[in-house]
Symmetry: none
Subunit: 409 residues, 2 copies
Amino acid sequence: MRIEILNTGTELLLGSTANTHGTWIGQQLVKWGLRVQRQMTVPDGVAIEEALREASNRCDVVIVTGGLGPTSDDITREATAKVLGVELIEDEAALRSLKDFFAKRSRVMADSNLKQAEVLVGSDVLPNKNGTAPGIYAPPRLGGEPTCGIFLLPGPPRELYPMFHDEVLPRLKALAGVENISQVKELKFVGIGESDFHESLDEALAQIADLEIGYCARLGEVDLRLIGTEESIAAGRQLADDNFGEFLVSDDGRNLETIVVHALTKAGKRLSTVESCTGGLIANRITDVAGSSEVFTHGFVTYSNAAKSQLIGVSEETLRVHGAVSEEVAHEMAAGALCESGADIAVSVTGIAGPGGGNEEKPVGTVCIGLATKAGVKTFKEIHPRNRLDFKRQVSQRALDLVRRELGV
Amino acid sequence: MRIEILNTGTELLLGSTANTHGTWIGQQLVKWGLRVQRQMTVPDGVAIEEALREASNRCDVVIVTGGLGPTSDDITREATAKVLGVELIEDEAALRSLKDFFAKRSRVMADSNLKQAEVLVGSDVLPNKNGTAPGIYAPPRLGGEPTCGIFLLPGPPRELYPMFHDEVLPRLKALAGVENISQVKELKFVGIGESDFHESLDEALAQIADLEIGYCARLGEVDLRLIGTEESIAAGRQLADDNFGEFLVSDDGRNLETIVVHALTKAGKRLSTVESCTGGLIANRITDVAGSSEVFTHGFVTYSNAAKSQLIGVSEETLRVHGAVSEEVAHEMAAGALCESGADIAVSVTGIAGPGGGNEEKPVGTVCIGLATKAGVKTFKEIHPRNRLDFKRQVSQRALDLVRRELGV
């Protein structure tokens, strides 16, 4: 079933409001194996008619959001009437519910609100629990042509979301028929890139029948999306697991920090962080996860040499001989944090985020990471030549991934 | 000038990634008095060609994002070549820069990356400072038809944003002609909301000739955008300053943390942070600013009571009598951090981020903030009933704003 979304609203194109409707509707549809084949945003006004006409000739269902309000630039109803060649009439039930809405709030209804009770002749009126404008569903061939169904939905999320669940989804499922419902699985990998998959797996994945794959790459991670039947998804997952299992972090949408906090909780272990170049980012990511207070108690941001010595006992000798960005200092930082916090695992990072501070031996992007447990301390030296914020993000990703591996998840 | 945006990426339509590009590009264009007339999102693959063909017949400039990666579903280059009827060739400079990118990171380049060096014959190659895929600009009539200019830009924001500023905006300005470019000033206010402006200033601002205003509200801050002539912008700014001067943080795009770090640097003062509920976010924001190492040396993330006592000397008595979320504890945290770090200003936060941990007396969203200087300690108690991440952000905003006010900027 070909579905398009048409979002209307000048503020969306000016960038003053983020278009969250497109994202949200996409998420709802995916859960039922339905897809959006195109999303469009047009300003309030005449552009709606042109875009709706095009979309209705291209697909089976158009979902329009916005433009059902009482002001002069709210013309979604009128535009749809023109596209379908049907009239608008005042709907008695809609008018009653509109009057009720204002009466309940002891507010006087403006005359301009009256047009919100107008619906397309022959359409379904979709009740609005949280606002004034009812939604409208024009079934296929309402005006003879086109053959697609058109939903008109209100813009405010608190009106749109319940109406979508109660009125739109059941009609979409009936239109699609059960046989068109597919499944989706997203696998998150940390520490490898999209091109690694392309090199090793794309061909083999393409040979699995009824499987569609997609990638979404972010700094230091990539999501592999598998869409198909239960069997084809299982086959795709097996292939990915066999090749890149050690990098596979989650198959249920959880991010790296959530995986780490959940694994710590399950193992009954506590983590401590001591950060120089990431400046608190690792601690911040950990504490983004609800429940992290059970497994994370002490975080240190030791941005200066003095802080490294004073707070976690890095020796001034080590700092002088090896420099702050060295595996030796990362070692003492992690060991010191483990001791000071009483945690089971401590991770340390010390590096050069730039733009200043680099030299030939240790260029901007150099980082040393330490990982301490009661069994001992491991250290790592890496180079991530990126801008300051990307460097911080990438280093936090590496540090959290080392903790994940230490926890064996 | 009619501009359309074409965002490509299956993940955008599945709702697994929010389409922030459309919003961001809209914001950039508005600053130059340019507008987007339509935005479209299509999945990776063949749909790109159809949508690009339509758009290129409708407008003067199409800005395409995404689909320049190395995998099989990245076909934006190929689709554009078909629409324009021109060939793709390997660009020597692009290939060199691609090889450099991998060499610098000591990584082996996969063969699949080679196609990222392919460009449209006769097009401008737009250098990518932060990734592998160069952008491409096909000027109007590159293949004879269509008459619109087409930009192909990489999807990852860290690659797209700098390329847009360095390569796209100058070309758009040249295409639009100077007479279409108005001036823009963005004023950033922290601690007041959009509705404060609507209530007090909208009418007065509307009476200034040749001035268009817009707002962009984010958590704990709002940008007032003034578009017009030098005179009308000055008049608008004066009005905003007269009414809300104390909340005005910057007029040059700098964010709150940058303002704070710059003010500390100028004053030759040092700041320390001690965070419970924000879990490192304040330190992280400060260290996002280049040069922060001169003014920020010690940060404490004291997520447990034990850490509060052990690291910065909060008395167990105070914790027991008043609870961790209290002005008394915030006071001792700030005073302790000031003493321990030797800084000139210390800011502390302790609160309940939720979803758990609240009670009737101290609901989720409660926070106590302490601000210590050699002159003494001030404390504040507030409630910000928001979800966990928004609460953390809002509290970090308040804490940084208190430091800003303390510094008198």
